[in-house]
Symmetry: C2
Subunit: 183 residues, 2 copies
């Protein structure tokens, strides 16, 4: 950030009065420009014993498989955002059911919020950001071609919970791109 989005003057990085962290503050109008983590919302779309994955048509991790998920928009709920992303990436209509996982990724200031969802029909297809969309049983999941640690952890917990007959809530932190922990 170099310029004030309100008045167009230069900004400086400084700690405002009463604050503890440096912020971009406008040299002219004194507006403080806070920068905050972003929410990624998405679904685990279920159809009988299978779940829907999307093969990414965009970077990062083009060609690898992921759950339908993306940046939450202003004015929507986490559930509405998860359904919208599933429609956009997989042309799939879902009934969003249960909050299943919340993952912190502090090194990129993101929080993933993922829901279990029921596919309403089999009329899905690849959206603009997907190369391919497919239903997978647990044993068909391409574990070596999963795009993100959040998705790998979520799927592992999902199938573990399903075997136990009870879906829990999973909160975890992805510490670095190469090391993932979850509880």
């Amino acid at each position: 950030m170099n310029f004030c989005s309100q008045c167009g003057a230069r900004v400086s990085l400084k700690v405002p009065a009463g604050d503890a962290l440096p912020r971009f503050v406008c040299d002219a109008c004194a507006t403080i420009h806070y920068q905050n983590p972003k929410l990624i919302v998405g679904c685990i779309p279920e159809w009988e014993d299978r779940i829907l994955l999307c093969r990414r048509a965009i970077e990062p991790r083009r060609g690898l498989w992921t759950l339908p998920a993306g940046f939450m928009e202003n004015g929507e709920t986490t559930m509405a955002g998860a359904a919208r992303e599933t429609l956009e990436e997989a042309n799939a209509r879902v009934n969003v059911m249960q909050l299943f996982a919340v993952y912190n990724i502090p090194h990129i200031s993101q929080v993933y919020v993922l829901f279990r969802a029921r596919l309403l029909d089999l009329d899905y297809s690849a959206g603009e950001e997907s190369l391919e969309v497919r239903l997978f049983t647990e044993h068909e999941v391409p574990w070596d071609e999963i795009a993100f640690a959040t998705v790998r952890n979520t799927l592992t917990h999902y199938f573990d919970d399903r075997r136990l007959g009870h879906f829990g809530m999973h909160v975890g932190t992805i510490e670095t791109p190469s090391r993932a922990t979850a509880r």
Copy 2:
């Protein structure tokens, strides 16, 4: 938003190619400035059968009672943010335990993420944004002087769950300032 924070030129509201929503786009350098919902993280700090509330020293709702909570910062986890806000607003040290509530407030593009937390000692006091900090049993809670619908809903679920002997996960949506629904 009037000016590009990257180059200082004017921005226009337009739908970028491949997008579905209008965004602020720089007329000069074409940077797209996305605006996304903000996360509010906080705690229900517990001490035996009591919970800690803060009386707000700042607007909105100055003088009313709330749970310690505030905007999540870049680079931290939801749990770390919840503990930090509790330290800032109540000078209280907590062990963050269990994710308890996620509330959507779409009309102001906020998502509340609240955790159960255990107070580590009784050495708490009002932080800069609080007039007063106090422990309350269920029957002492000032129900008519609670600052926000999110806090009222969270406390109601909390005491209900405690009576049942099992703390669940609560996902809800605050539709308007005057009408609250939760499940």
